[in-house]
Structures are given as structure tokens and as C-alpha cells.
Symmetry: C2
């Protein structure tokens, strides 16, 4: 019987996350019980949201603990099944976490169908893509001609948001963390403009890029970029609050932006948080649309990859420092 | 010919507003031009929003200046008319400001009909009542059984919001600035609970009053009360941002509340600013409903009054210190 390598949380970070907050351990492969399946992990996702899950404060994922396997979504292959709904060889998405083997109730595994690379279900066809789709269209409600701004624009959700907005006929401005990312957003993904929040002249450059103001701001970061965007919103604008990556890698989140709630009143702004799970009944419709855009070439999905389970902590620490472009995954097994 | 007394802005306040920031001057009575009417002020409104208009920062009312008449809504009687739409003796609402006489284009005066006391058009049948009505029902979207919280609950808008929520079948919690106000909200207006934000145990008392959490928070204050409410919101809750009275009487507004935008995401909250003018087409419908509730006794309108134009600065300074209960007006002329 093979062994099961696991990346576990060794210590809860109080400041910036470090690779040393994790450790690799090896245990036996678990046995599936009645109605359960045994899964072999093919790839796991690495996302800023995982860091939020390590904060002691309220998160929709619950309170973090040491000594447990780092949680994450994964694509996996069913190796043994005690449920007629799934068969060995089926490829599924499941909450495997950062480990080689895991058992799950069969109904918590979702069969992946028809994609050349199942890892796409960790990116454009998974939570990231669905978040971009529903968050922009249902919460942001962009109209053709609107100016749409997205922060963490080169990130897993952001790069898709900008493109979906462009497909809707909007003018799209991205905010990202380096000049190189900004250049790629414009050259490769058709953003109308992109601004680095690390530029010493960020506020001025941002103002210039936003022209007459922002109709829809898709906020992945909170913090200073949210603060800047609030001052550039047009009357009646919508802010879709998706994530707060600027405040994840710390145990001391900053105060909220000035202008809340004053600017919300004066400009009649709507600021709305959302979680993609609320649209679970409509995932099929969204995936069909996303695949159609991918097939036509209108939508490009960026994916960046690490090899080997042991690289997952490094992949996350680097992502929090802004190292990723698009969806970051770790390939665990060749499948 | 009579004289025209005016309260003008002598200096723009940098800290808390003082009576000395105003001065009384006497000028001639203006002449109405073509299409204009000359109005004799009967009563003017005194509201926290007037203080916001004296801040240099962006307000929907535009930038403030010294040497001009303090702006405010008023009820007034038409004395001379150069427009067939209005006749001498008509009682109207208009933006007279704090002065005895003013001229206006006739189409900027709105005839007041059928109310025993026209000053009600500065309160429950005016901007305050309409703000409570549309802000609560259209932005807050309360459902029967919801817990609705309103801040500045004894204020001109707040005391109406709480009662309209009660009429909708909601459980209503008010936050006000004194124990006496809280007692009156419960005893006289049927609030289920009320908490003083000046209590040293405010956070605990507020938590207890909110029970299982808040579905709708109608925010008149921003600041600490908004901060406390954010942490007590239920998933999917709505925050109607109406005003920021905690930040008006200063030139150094505090940062926004912690938890923006993090809590908005985790709890899927919607936070939406509004200005009542956006529902101008529906004022008639709202006034008819408000009058019906007043007639049946379900809705009680609190009004507090000062006498004489010269008392207006004192009335505003006192209101900003929390001295008012309900709508504050200054009677200028017996009519």
C-alpha cells in the first residue's frame, strides 16, 4: 500500500505567512467507509482565500486549527468506491486538501466531464471562474459602455473578470502589482488600461485610467485600492466585494476605507459582498458560457503551475507576495 | 416695506459648529422677476445634513461659502407672484434658507395641500418622512419578522424608520443618544428595544438587543454604531446608508469601520447609499401612505420647535449635540 503525504498546519501565522508554518508528514492511506470513495489527488489549488482561512477571525470557512491538513480544492481520481454514483477512474473535484489520498462521501465529489485538462476545474471552470462570472454579472451588473475596474487583475479571478467585462462591451481597467502584469493584461487579454498599485504615482495614474469615473468596481483586495476606487466611483456605481487579499496576510487588518459610508450616500453607491456558492444552482449555465468563450478564443485562462505536493507551501507564500499570474495550482500526481 | 432678516454663514467651522459661525444681517426684501414668486418664510427646517453642507469635502449639495444665507428647506406663503401657477396666499415648500423673504422660480416651489400644519412638510410629509419611507422599504427591503436596527433612532428620519419597520411586522431596535430617548422610543413609538450609544456597555447591550442578529440596518450615523452593527449583521443582511451624522460636526472624519469590506464578503452583505430625490416620481404615493398611517394612529410624528429666525443657529448647534427629538423646525412667522 502506498503512503499518504500530507501538508499540515504547524503554526497559525501571526504576521506574514511563512513556509515554516507548514510541515510535511506521512501517514497511512485512509479506508473509505460505506457511501464513501477513496481519491488520489491529481492537483490542488493555491489561492489567497486559503490564507484568510488561517486567520483567527470570522471566516465563512470556520476557525483554523494546527495539526490538520491544509484545506483546498483539488481534482482527484476515484481509486475505490463504496457508492454506486462513482466508479474507479472517475475524475472529480473535491475538498481533498494538500495530501495524496483522501476519503469523501460520494455526494461531496463532483464528476468532471469533457475537459482536456481537469485542472481547469480549479480555475476558469471552477470556483474562480464562477466567482468572476456571477460576481461581475449578478452583483456588478455592468452595462455596455460602462467603465469596469478590477483589482488583483492578474489574479485567478481578476483576469477573468476583466475579460468578461470586455466581452460585455465595457471599458476595462485593471489594477495589478507590477508593470509586467499590467503590460500583459493590456497586450494579451485586451484590457483598455492597467495600473500598478505599487507605482509611486498610483493615485494619479489610476485617476487618469478611470477617465470619467467607475461604474463597476470588482474588489478583490480591499485596502488602499478600494479607498482609491471609492473616490472615483460615478453616481449610482456598484462595488462587488469579492475578497480582501490586501488584509489576508496579517493578523492586524487595517481600518476600513475613508468615505464609508459618506461617499456611499453622496454617490448612491451599492457595495455588496458575495460568495459564489449562492449561485450553485446555476453553475451549469455559467460553465457552458465560459467554455463557449474559451472555445471562441474570446476568453483566455491563465494558469500557473508548481510541481509536487511539497511545493505547495512555497506556492502559497509566493502567491501572497504577488508571484502568481492567473490561477495557481500544484500538480500532485500525473494522474 | 418690511425688512429681510437673514442668517448668513460668517465662517466655515473647522471643528464643532458654533453659534458664532453665523451672523444675522438685515437687507431689503427682494423683487420677484418674471416667472418668479416672492415668499414669506413660515418655518425652516434644522437638520444634521445642514452641517454636512458646511464641510469642504464633496457633498451632493456642492461646496460651501461664507457670506451666503444658510440654506435650508422651508414652508412659506406666496406674497407676490409673477407666474400663473401660484397665487398670493398659496403655501409652498421651497429652498428659502434661513431668512424672512426669498424669491424663487415658481416651478421650484411646491404647493402644500390639505395639512393642518404645513410644517409637517418639513418633517413626516417632507424629505425626512420620504427618506425614511423609501430608504427603508426600497433599500433596506425588510420582510415581516426581520430584525431592523436604526441609528439616530429618535431623530427626524430615525423615529419614522422604526415605526414603518414595526408596521411591516419587523422587530425594531433603535440606537439613540440618551436613556430618555430610548425609553420614549419603546414607550411611545412601540420600538421593541432601544440602546444608548453613550452607555459604557453599549456593545454588550447592543448585542443583547439584536438577538439572533440584524437583517436590516438603517444607518444615519456611520462611525462606531455602524462598526458595531456590521459585526451583528446576519448573512444576506442589508445596510441602508442614509447619513453620517457622527462625522458631520468635524473637519476630520474618522476612517471607515473595520470589517469593510471583509465582513461584507463573509456575510454577503449589501451596503447601499441613497438620496431620496431619486424617488421624486413616487412622492405622492409615499405621502398618501404616510398620511394614512398618521390618520390611523399607527405612525406618530415627533416635531420639536424653536421660535424666531434668530434662534436657528442655536437650534442647529444643539441638534448636533443630540438635543432634538424628532424633526426640528424653527417657526419664523406665524403665517
Amino acid at each position: 500500500m502506498p503512503e499518504n503525504r500530507q501538508v499540515v498546519i504547524a503554526s497559525l501565522p501571526t504576521g506574514a505567512l511563512a513556509e515554516s508554518d507548514f510541515e510535511l508528514q506521512t501517514v497511512g492511506v485512509p479506508e473509505p467507509g460505506p457511501g464513501q470513495v477513496l481519491c488520489r489527488t491529481l492537483a490542488v489549488s493555491v489561492s489567497a482565500g486559503s490564507r484568510a482561512g488561517l486567520q483567527g477571525s470570522a471566516s465563512y470557512a470556520g476557525a483554523p486549527k494546527t495539526g490538520i491538513v491544509m484545506s483546498s480544492l483539488a481534482v482527484a481520481r476515484v481509486e475505490r468506491s463504496n457508492d454506486p454514483a462513482l466508479s474507479p477512474g472517475d475524475v472529480v473535484t473535491c475538498g481533498a486538501g494538500w495530501q495524496d489520498w483522501s476519503v469523501h462521501p460520494a455526494q461531496q465529489c463532483f464528476r468532471v466531464e469533457g475537459s482536456a485538462d481537469p485542472a481547469r476545474y480549479l480555475g476558469v471552470l471552477g470556483t474562480n471562474g464562477l466567482t468572476a462570472y456571477f460576481g461581475l454579472l449578478e452583483v456588478g451588473e455592468p452595462k455596455p459602455g460602462d467603465t469596469v475596474v478590477v483589482s488583483a487583475a492578474a489574479g485567478s479571478v481578476g483576469h477573468l473578470v476583466g475579460q468578461i467585462a470586455r466581452i460585455q462591451g465595457c471599458r476595462v481597467v485593471g489594477v495589478a502589482g507590477s508593470d509586467e502584469k499590467c503590460q500583459r493584461l493590456v497586450a494579451e487579454l485586451g484590457f483598455d488600461a492597467a495600473v500598478s498599485h505599487r507605482s509611486p504615482d498610483f493615485r494619479q495614474e489610476f485617476k487618469a485610467a478611470c477617465g470619467d469615473g467607475i461604474d463597476v468596481y470588482f474588489d478583490n483586495t480591499g485596502g488602499d485600492v478600494l479607498g482609491a476606487a471609492l473616490f472615483r466611483m460615478r453616481n449610482g456605481g456598484r462595488i462587488a466585494c469579492c475578497g480582501v487579499v490586501s488584509q489576508y496576510d496579517t493578523s492586524k487588518p487595517a481600518p476600513g476605507p475613508r468615505g464609508v459610508p459618506g461617499l456611499l450616500v453622496n454617490k448612491r453607491l451599492r457595495m455588496q459582498g458575495f460568495l459564489v456558492f449562492d449561485w450553485a444552482q446555476r453553475y451549469g449555465e455559467a460553465r457552458a458560457q465560459l467554455e463557449s468563450w474559451l472555445d471562441s478564443g474570446e476568453l483566455v485562462a491563465w494558469q500557473d503551475e508548481f510541481e509536487g505536493l511539497e511545493s505547495a507551501p512555497r506556492a502559497l507564500v509566493d502567491l501572497l507576495a504577488g508571484g502568481n499570474v492567473g490561477t495557481r495550482i500544484v500538480r500532485v500526481s500525473p494522474g
